[in-house]
Symmetry: C2
Subunit: 372 residues, 2 copies
């Protein structure tokens, strides 16, 4: 086995991620062609993120479909750590989640971990709870069904969340939590308790409805460790193990790593102005040759070109058109300036539309948020 040159934890993603190694390391399953066919039977078409392997790994998705096919409705659960504004990397799984919700017509529980972000970042609770509301607008703007979507901040829905977390925490020892998350003596006691809080939504609809309801979690694969604990304790508490579907990270505008909120120039935020978007994309790393002449002669590499990757992950859903863009990059007919300008226009249009939806979301947000 090759030496791993990358690192993936719930708090850190470093280096060029080899997703096949990650599947082995985390012990998840690759989404097979058979499983894709089975999904297609229910959805009528496959979302481009499934076709392209952006969602690439799962736990017990086949079991979930067994249940669904015998008439048991499941629910979706995903979340966000509200430490700042939302960027395109965050939207990727949410857009897919909205599609799942529409195709299967199911409820979505969306957890804003404002408590966690206060515990691990130099942010006040007032700031993180503020971001929770701000980010919730972006969630709705992705096209969630407001009637079947329930967004909550752990702090604002704290009575319900804390109560269920206490029941879960009783079954999680420090050694288990330490083994999964690598806690140290210097870790604060809030973040040590947090795995119980993040496990709550796996079972919450079952508690609220008074019956066992299967759970599907679409999320980036770095969050997987949290659900290992949930899966471990589920049988002890009389619930189904939550199932998962994992996505890859949308790359940053700079080479290597994922789009990161802690480096604003690496990411496009949903609150960015057209000028900011234009500037960030025109500065993006393309992996093209140093001069137009050389690029025309030698061509570039779409795999390391962040502009190509943006099309791949979000901005060109038509596979044939995408191939044309990749081809242009590869053969040198597509030069960096034009390449970036085209993407900048797409992204600006996308964000403009997203911001319109975000404004509309402000009118319904109060009905969608759960509170105690």
């Amino acid at each position: 086995m090759p030496k791993e040159k990358f690192k993936v934890t719930p708090w850190e993603v470093k280096g060029k991620v080899d997703y096949n190694i990650l599947i082995r390391k985390f012990g998840t399953q690759k989404i097979s062609d058979d499983l894709l066919e089975r999904i297609k039977k229910h959805t009528g078409e496959l979302h481009f993120m499934l076709r392209r392997g952006i969602f690439f790994s799962h736990r017990d998705l086949d079991w979930l479909l067994d249940k669904y096919e015998t008439g048991e409705e499941f629910f979706l659960y995903t979340g966000r750590g509200p430490s700042g504004h939302t960027h395109l990397g965050h939207l990727t799984p949410w857009i897919f989640t909205a599609w799942l919700q529409e195709k299967f017509d199911v409820h979505l529980y969306f957890q804003m971990t404002d408590d966690e972000k206060h515990l691990v970042k130099p942010l006040s609770l007032e700031q993180t709870t503020g971001f929770a509301y701000d980010n919730a607008l972006d969630v709705l703007a992705c096209g969630m069904d407001p009637k079947k979507t329930h967004i909550f901040s752990n702090i604002e829905y704290g009575k319900t969340i804390y109560k269920e977390a206490v029941k879960i925490a009783k079954h999680v020892t420090f050694s288990t939590a330490k083994a999964v998350f690598g806690f140290k003596n210097s870790s604060n006691i809030g973040i040590i308790f947090f795995p119980a809080i993040q496990a709550v939504p796996c079972f919450l609809p079952s508690v609220l409805e008074g019956k066992n309801i299967p759970c599907l979690i679409p999320a980036a694969i770095d969050q997987d460790p949290y659900w290992r604990i949930s899966r471990d304790i589920a049988p002890k508490m009389g619930y189904y193990k939550p199932t998962q579907i994992h996505n890859k990270f949308i790359p940053g505008l700079k080479p290597g790593g994922k789009m990161s909120a802690s480096d604003p120039s690496s990411a496009i935020f949903t609150t960015d102005t057209p000028e900011q978007i234009e500037k960030k994309i025109m500065n993006a790393f393309t992996g093209q040759q140093p001069t137009a002449e050389l690029q025309r002669k030698l061509g570039g590499n779409p795999d390391i070109c962040t502009v190509c990757q943006y099309y791949f992950y979000l901005f060109e859903q038509d596979d044939k058109k995408l191939e044309k863009i990749f081809e242009g990059e590869r053969t040198g007919t597509l030069l960096a300036g034009e390449h970036k300008a085209d993407l900048a226009k797409r992204v600006k249009d996308f964000i403009a539309e997203h911001q319109r939806r975000r404004e509309k979301a402000k009118k319904i947000i109060d009905k969608v948020m759960l509170r105690d």
Copy 2:
């Protein structure tokens, strides 16, 4: 220093406690005669629990009186782990707390740790929250001022409690919590977080009122470790360190140790019937001689006689009458049967009156309990 033959932690009290050693070990201060005089200036008389050294130790009580004398009102905070019905050992500090509240005319915040008891005992959260309400009736029956008393269960007031606990937890590392409480790898992550929950009421009135308010905690000395953490983090959070006044344990009806809810025959519960009380007291350990003849000749030892100790801790507030009882025990004029029968009558009268107050408390409990 003599080998310690006793053990005092928030979860366990074992052996014959040497309170002078405990003061040195815990680093608290003995309540001096000067301090008693100073209290008397404000209260007009000294409660028998102060006169008799039942409340014997403190942290910064002199500082609290400095504040009070310059016009700053303080508040009282104490609590209970609701794992069963209330016994006389629990009532001791509450009766004293009601006296403090009356004499200083201050607010009382009373925490029911139903979360903690679920985390460490084989009890469901429904059971511990149930006991929280049951025990709250006993608190009110001790004569608290309902207008200035705020009782809450951590679960039912969970939104407020969890929010403030998260802010506190950020300042408490695992190594600090471990050093104070001796957590192990097998400890569950809920009980590791719990010190933050128990610290909340030290600062909660300051948060709710938006100003720094001094806190006085009357509680049995085994709870002291919790406040060490609160005192440690208070300056970091911009609050006064909570001050404390500690009581000794009311002895059980059997020799050695404290009155314990886990051994029902060692304790008299507020829900006991007159017959149960009679039976428990008639079976109590007196430390008298094996026969009436020997007792008349040699006398007994009031220090190890649980009947004498009950008079001392709760049932004979008049010092002269108490001395007469002790004298009778010492000289052998007071025989076990009469001794116990006298106490049984007192206890039955006390519990009957307590139960009447408990019934009255049911009418106002809803107004006194804080809820989210």
